[in-house]
Each structure stands twice: as structure tokens, then as C-alpha cells.
Symmetry: C2
Subunit: 271 residues, 2 copies
């Protein structure tokens, strides 16, 4: 196979298999090419991925080694994406009762969701994450987007058990802002003891829901390896029950009376 | 920029922007290359995408023209993926009360979900779809996977309204198998009149839920442009209230007593 063809096929393969170790023999056999050619191709791809700001190739030496595509946004790409998103969210038409923001249109766009996922995956790339966890419903697309770049499975916490999930573990927790007692369930088969779990959600006010997920992880004897939220309501900072988290956006000064709202980059960018 | 570098950058760009018309000037400016070189590159990429069985490039001529990546599985890839999935689902450990199957582990794997999405997107590529619709919770990841390859937004039907979605339209419907009356809601802002909607869900027994979504679409004066389900319970065929649909898998002969189950390719492969 010609180099030009190989570069296309290998680029596609690596992009579709992020964070997966691919052995060199896999490429030499798939494309009927010498090891030296494949190595040279990988060098070109690595340079180009970095130039484009989409990540890099990691080489693992030795007999069991190979190459792994680590998706990672350049800072420039991350910042300009966050600013663009913030800008879209500042539209006063989005204001809903209770200081919530209508975000379903943005969260309904697969390209936007994928970009958000890439950003969190960049942040959590070195956190040795085994599983992404989220709570139904809005966090689900974000969780899958992050998971697809980290190459780990997703588990979904629900408010009520469903027959299609088999036996479940449930906990009660106090919602941070409304102070109501709520329930969360997770299928028994979904988490292994000692798993490193990254919690992803779309919105955090006081953080009660995320705290609930933390209690649920305790039941499974699993660890919180990271917490990422798309948007945090900054005005709620005083009552916050969750401390260690990263946010992509911060929503400040929600002024329902004058229909004004400010959205800034989240704490992910100051860390 | 050298051809080898350009091919990598363009392959990445096209894969990340499926079903989007990209003008030639965008490429010539991004990569500082002549139009003739870019055209030649696109020819090589098109050939290679087809050889790899992942889709093709469509050229749109004229001043407003350009090139569009149409993701599409080769039949061979689709069939072998469906068979592999069927094989995994035939594990008797998956049997749950009521003839349901535990699928959360498979639906929790982003790579599997993405492959399912690619398969439906291949099937619906020529159906002029504007929106993908699904119902919370399990259909969500599948809906996003399909939508990402078709480059259209997703709207999510819920069982109960949520403050973060603004005002909603709700309907009551009769669940096909349990004959219970249930409710479905969709935010008012989520669908335009006349939109062509593709319904995606994970599992269909009698089809009551999908029928409910159809009634909801009537309320919005939107059209059903397609229905896709990951797995259908074939034994329920007699009671089925939905006719025009494609399934990726069919579940037959669920024998709870002897812990046996058969899973075959769905009707997508016989159409």
C-alpha cells in the first residue's frame, strides 16, 4: 500500500480507537507494509496531530508495546470553544424560573457535545479513570462524549429502578438546593470494587446530586477520581457541598428581573 | 504543506465533520495549497474511505459546492458487527424477569454505541432526516451516536417535565405490553413544524412507547421519517402496534425456564 493511502487509513483507525494500544504488527499486517515504513508514518501522524491541536501519539516500547492516540485539545482550542459556548449561553431568552438556564438545544447538538467531551477528556487524561458515571437524563450525552475519548465505559445512575437493569443498589440523599430527600439507584453489576470513577454532569448548583453520586460510590467501594460539570452556578458557592471539581463554565449574576446573565470560563481554565 | 501532512489533517477534519459540506477554499486556505492538489487529495481520501468500508466523499459542484463525508458501513462490516453483538446477547446470564435482556454493559461501551450509530446512520443516510428523537433513558446514547454521523440534533422525550426545559407539550399513551396509561413530554422549543424526525430506541416489544412518540410528533405537526430500534422482541410480533421500523437485532425464543435465548440479525438486513 502506498504511503498516502496508509496515512489516511491509519489516521482514521487511530481517531476511531482513542486511548487504545495498537501494536505495530497490527498495522504492518493490515497494510502489508514494513515496520520501518509504519514507524515513519506514525511519526508524521504524531507531528500533524500536535500541529492541528487534537492530541498526540504515545509510543509504548517493548514486545507488548505499540502506539496509542491520546486525544487532547490545545489550550487555544479549548479556550476559544469555551468562550463561544459562554457567549451562546448569555442569551437572556435562556433564563428559566429558579435561575436555571435552557441548554437543551446546545446539549442536543452532537458536535457541541463531542467538543465538550474532548475538553473534559483532555483534562482527565492522566487521572487513571476506569469508568464515567452520570445521572439521568441531561448528563448522559456528555458522559458518553467524555468516555468515548477516554475509552472507558459509562454507568448511569437513575432516580428509580427499572426491570431492564436487574438488581440495584439504592441510596437516599439530600438535594443541596431544595433540601428534599431523593433516591438514586445503580445496577449491582455496573461497578467493580475499587474502580476509579469520574463523575460528569451538566449543571451544578449546590452540588447535592453530585454528593449523592459520591455516597453511591461509597456503597460500591469505588473511588471518585474526578468530577466534571459543564456549568456551575457561581452564586451558590457558599452553600456548596462539593469541593474538588472542574467546571467548563461559570454562570454568574443571574438577574431574572432585568433578564441579564453572565457566563464565564469555569475553574478548569484557572487550574 | 506536504501532501502527507495534508492527508492526515483532511482525513481528521472530514471524519470529525460528517455530512457537512466543506468548501474547497476552506481546505486551500487552511493548508495553503493549490486547488488542484486539494482535489487530488480528496480523490485519494474518497478511494481509501471506500476501500476501508467507512463511507465515501460526495462532491457538490458549483460555486456553493464542496465536499461532504457520508459515513457508511460496508455491508460486510455491518453484518459482522451485528453477528458479534447478537452473539454477546445470547448469554443466558442476561435474561431478566419478563423476558427482558440485560444490555446495560453493552450500551455502556462508547465504542459499541458508536458502531451501532454508524449502522443506523448508514441505513437512514438518504431519508432526509432533520432530527433524531428518543425517550429517556436507554435510547439516549444510541440517539446521539446516530445523530453524530447524520449531523443532526437530538431531542429527548421524558416521562415527566423538568424545570430546566421550559414549557412542554405532553401526551398520554397506552403502553403496548402492560396496557398502562403513561405520559410523555417534550419541550415546546425542541421541534419545528414539519420537521422530519427519526425515532431511535434500544428495545421494542409491542411498540407502545414508539407509538407514543408518534402521537407526540403529531402534536408538533412533525413527520416520522424513520424508526430504528436496536433490538426487537420477535415473540411479540402479533401484538405489535408499530409497522414501519428497522431493527438491528431480533430476539427470539426467550425460554426463561431453560435459560435459553436466540438473537438474530434484525429486519434491517433483509430490506
Amino acid at each position: 500500500m502506498k504511503r498516502s493511502e496508509r496515512l489516511i487509513a491509519m489516521t482514521n483507525y487511530l481517531i476511531e480507537h482513542p486511548q487504545q494500544l495498537v501494536s505495530l504488527p497490527f498495522f504492518t499486517e493490515s497494510y502489508q507494509s514494513a515496520k520501518s515504513s509504519i514507524s515513519e508514518d506514525l511519526g508524521i501522524i504524531n507531528d500533524m496531530f500536535q500541529k492541528e491541536g487534537i492530541g498526540r501519539l504515545q509510543t509504548v516500547p517493548g514486545a507488548a508495546g505499540g502506539v496509542k492516540y491520546i486525544p487532547a485539545n490545545s489550550d487555544e482550542r479549548s479556550e476559544s470553544f469555551a468562550d463561544e459556548l459562554a457567549n451562546q449561553l448569555e442569551d437572556p431568552e435562556r433564563l428559566l424560573p429558579g435561575g436555571y438556564l435552557f441548554m437543551s438545544d446546545l446539549l442536543g447538538d452532537p458536535q457541541t457535545v463531542r467538543n465538550i467531551g474532548r475538553l473534559f477528556a483532555t483534562h482527565f487524561a492522566n487521572h487513571s479513570i476506569d469508568v464515567i458515571m452520570t445521572v439521568a437524563t441531561k448528563g448522559i450525552p456528555l458522559a458518553y462524549a467524555v468516555a468515548s475519548f477516554l475509552n472507558v465505559p459509562v454507568v448511569i445512575v437513575r432516580r428509580d429502578p427499572k426491570v431492564t437493569e436487574g438488581s440495584t443498589v439504592s441510596i437516599n440523599y439530600v438535594s443541596g438546593s431544595s433540601r428534599k430527600i431523593q433516591t438514586m439507584v445503580l445496577p449491582k453489576r455496573s461497578l467493580k470494587q475499587g474502580a476509579n470513577v469520574c463523575i460528569i454532569d451538566d449543571f451544578m448548583k449546590a452540588g447535592g446530586t453530585i454528593n449523592g453520586m459520591r455516597s453511591l460510590l461509597d456503597e460500591f467501594e469505588a473511588n471518585v477520581a474526578g468530577i466534571g460539570v459543564l456549568a456551575e452556578a457561581e452564586d451558590e458557592e457558599e452553600d456548596r457541598v462539593v469541593e474538588e471539581y472542574v467546571s467548563l463554565l461559570q454562570i454568574n449574576n443571574v438577574d431574572i428581573k432585568n433578564k441579564k446573565i453572565e457566563v464565564h470560563r469555569g475553574n478548569m481554565f484557572s487550574k
